[in-house]
């Protein structure tokens, strides 16, 4: 299905990442956004509040982020393509209903413009320390998908991708950007609507008497209905059977939770989205995402000038983690240098996949500013020693 041309601002623009996210949301067909102001994500909500009344959307500024996320889940069940946007402290508050969205298999998108933490941390400065929270932040076992754009152009594209993936797999999808990308203004090219492919909601064709809301087919993703369609469904955050009814037993728990986890894990290969830069002959692999990946380029260039065989591996989809790729490379390369704006989050995933087969180095950063390329360069030198 193609995007609705009425919402798509086809052409060349000069936008910051937050505004580009807003345009991505509109192009993706999102017409419901519930949010709460929080730096450095507010600009997305501001742009949505200005644009939505002109494209038939409803923006509501909720009383808090718990309410925002709950409203998003409710709106999705009402038949809207629904999103929210926040930053660290708000992301923490959203975790409760992100868990609900995962449990109810609700398609929705959460944009997190990461800032320095913990707690109030650095509201106006970047961080990348919510990466593990995106994956594990709500209680219990579940899987989500997370993408990480590194430019305003990619913010536009990744919000559309996130919306599509959320529909395809019926999971909340996180767009993990950061303050730098969010506030960086660059050229954004918005294509024509007929060049934007959208994944339609997976509504059932079965009549109410045959339909089971949580019975999944081969791909483990059940078909959906929306409220008001006459199916009289029951949906609960309690452990439930295929009918959607609560059942307090380990057997039903096992069946449900296993499916929630496997519907993503089994599709990890097709979800893999990696950008490779000078990886053909690389012996040292820089692993970096979001704004940090851009700071790696000067370090890579400097090392290349000195004849060091360095490449950059940038996961665009961070969750599920590109396990297969790292495992393959760990047999071939001399070292991984992980560059992220935290004290080790995806680094531990790299280490897990490498499993001691090759060297792994972390170039940590507490957030607040990007890495000094010189530190990355020094880590490369260290890696080839």
């Amino acid at each position: 299905m193609k995007a609705d041309p009425k919402g798509v601002l086809t052409g060349e623009h000069y936008l910051d990442g937050d505004h580009a996210c807003a345009e991505g949301a509109i192009a993706a067909g999102c017409r419901f956004l519930a949010g709460y102001p929080i730096t450095p994500s507010t600009e997305m909500a501001e742009r949505v509040s200005e644009r939505f009344p002109q494209v038939g959307g409803i923006f509501i500024q909720m009383e808090d982020e718990m309410g925002s996320m709950a409203a998003v889940v409710g709106a999705a069940w009402g038949g809207a393509k629904a999103m929210t946007v926040t930053s660290g402290p708000g992301f923490s508050l959203m975790m409760e209903n992100i868990g609900l969205a995962a449990m109810l298999e609700t398609p929705c998108v959460v944009v997190n413009v990461q800032r320095g933490g913990p707690s109030t941390g650095l509201p106006t400065l970047p961080g990348q320390a919510d990466m593990m929270q995106a994956r594990w932040g709500s209680h219990g076992d579940y899987e989500i998908i997370a993408v990480s754009p590194n430019s305003p152009q990619e913010c536009f594209e990744m919000v559309i991708k996130a919306a599509n993936l959320s529909e395809k797999y019926r999971v909340p999808v996180m767009v993990m950007t950061d303050e730098c990308v969010g506030h960086m203004t660059e050229k954004v090219i918005i294509p024509k609507a007929d060049q934007i492919e959208l994944y339609p909601r997976r509504y059932t064709k079965l009549p109410p008497e045959e339909y089971l809301p949580f019975k999944a087919g081969k791909d483990l993703v059940p078909e959906m209905v929306k409220a008001g369609d006459g199916y009289k469904i029951h949906v609960t955050g309690l452990t439930h059977d295929e009918k959607g009814y609560p059942v307090m037993s380990w057997e039903v728990q096992e069946k449900l939770v296993r499916r929630l986890v496997e519907k993503i894990r089994l599709h990890a290969d097709e979800l893999e989205d990696i950008e490779e830069t000078q990886m053909e002959d690389a012996e040292v692999v820089i692993f970096s995402y979001g704004i940090s990946s851009r700071v790696c380029i000067p370090a890579l260039q400097k090392a290349r000038k000195e004849g060091l065989k360095v490449g950059l591996l940038r996961p665009i989809v961070c969750w599920p983690f590109p396990e297969k790729k790292i495992k393959e490379l760990s047999r071939k390369v001399k070292a991984f240098v992980v560059v992220e704006m935290n004290y080790g989050q995806l680094f531990y995933e790299v280490e897990r996949c490498v499993a001691g087969k090759t060297k792994t180095l972390l170039v940590p950063h507490g957030g607040g500013w990007v890495h000094d390329p010189e530190d990355i360069y020094n880590a490369i030198k260290e890696a080839v020693k």
């Binding site: 009425k6 067909g29 017409r31 419901f32 519930a34 009344p53 002109q54 494209v55 038939g56 959307g57 409803i58 509501i60 909720m62 009383e63 808090d64 718990m66 309410g67 925002s68 709950a70 409203a71 998003v72 889940v73 409710g74 709106a75 999705a76 069940w77 009402g78 038949g79 809207a80 393509k81 629904a82 409760e96 209903n97 868990g99 609900l100 529909e167 339609p200 909601r201 929306k226 409220a227 008001g228 369609d229 006459g230 199916y231 009289k232 469904i233 029951h234 949906v235 609960t236 955050g237 309690l238 009814y245 609560p246």
Partner: protein, 294 residues
């Protein structure tokens, strides 16, 4: 000679609430003499009298004893997270304004953990109905003190009696902007049913507090007798006072309970205000939300 008697039993074809309940989920989990069943029966009766077709009526519950209502009612029903039934309902309603969205939950859910959502939904005049069963305690977890526990009442976390001032929910609802406010007890079945019908036929944020016995926890701990004793207490101590000043109906431990319909007024709903204002400001640039997009 052996006497034989034939007893003619009326043929029972269907439970009177069968069309409204998920019979495959009965028996329910509520205790004998709990008031939630009565509130649910009143709701089922009210549903027969409302203007909206039943496939367009949704029930959203939070967590707790009353939170289980969503699981027994045969409508599109959502059992959400603790305290978030109102924002969930807000999203549902705005995504499809054709729906009649009813939040059916307890006092802990609506006035305790969800209190912030309650006041803001009332302030916005979100077009939803909120039915709040008030049993004065967190019953599902064992009868702990709540934002509605009367002063001096004994609960499992106020073992020496409650010293915190409770909310008076009708006053809170009115002061925040609800367009319909009523309070009944589980004894007032017909009046409660009528109020529920009125609330569901009304546009805007409608609120009904339903005072309910919790004989397992609240009344046992406070030595208030059986369920029947509580019904008798409601009978002897409820004062029907339509239009009463909501500032004067705080519930005191085992004192008179003011019941009735207190508020029935008109205010533009969130969505009407949204559309009217933006149309006025943006003129022909304004595009109204066109219902579910997917």
């Amino acid at each position: 000679m052996k006497a034989t008697a034939t007893v003619q039993l009326a043929e029972v074809t269907e439970h009177p609430m069968e069309s409204i309940l998920r019979m495959d989920r009965i028996p329910h989990i509520w205790c004998p003499t709990c008031g939630i069943g009565t509130a649910l029966t009143a709701f089922a009766e009210a549903l027969k009298k409302i203007e909206t077709p039943l496939e367009k009526v949704c029930v959203v519950s939070g967590i707790g004893c009353t939170g289980r209502v969503a699981g027994y009612i045969k409508l599109d029903s959502f059992h959400s997270t603790h305290g978030r039934a109102i924002p969930f309902a807000t999203g549902l309603k705005l995504a499809n304004p054709e729906l009649k969205v009813v939040v059916f939950s307890g006092d802990g859910d609506i006035a305790g953990i969800g209190g912030n959502h309650f006041i803001h939904a009332a302030r916005r005049n979100m077009d939803i109905v909120v039915l709040c069963v008030n049993n004065f305690v967190y019953a599902m977890t064992g009868g702990q003190v709540a934002a509605t526990t009367p002063l001096t009442a004994n609960t499992s976390t106020s073992p020496y009696g409650n010293f915190e001032n409770p909310f008076s929910l009708p006053q809170l609802a009115e002061s925040c902007g609800a367009v319909y406010v009523a309070r009944w007890t589980a004894l007032h079945v017909r009046r409660l049913t009528r109020s529920m019908t009125e609330a569901m036929n009304k546009k805007g944020f409608s609120f009904i507090e339903i005072i309910c016995p919790c004989s397992t926890l609240y009344s046992r701990r406070n030595k208030l007798g059986t369920g029947l004793d509580l019904m008798k207490f409601y009978h002897d101590n409820s004062v029907i006072k339509h239009g009463a000043d909501t500032r004067e109906m705080a519930i005191e431990f085992q004192k008179k309970i003011i019941v009735g319909k207190f508020i029935d007024r008109e205010r533009p709903t969130f969505l009407d205000a949204h559309n009217d204002w933006l149309r006025k400001r943006l003129k022909d640039k304004f595009v109204a939300y066109g219902g579910p997009q997917c």
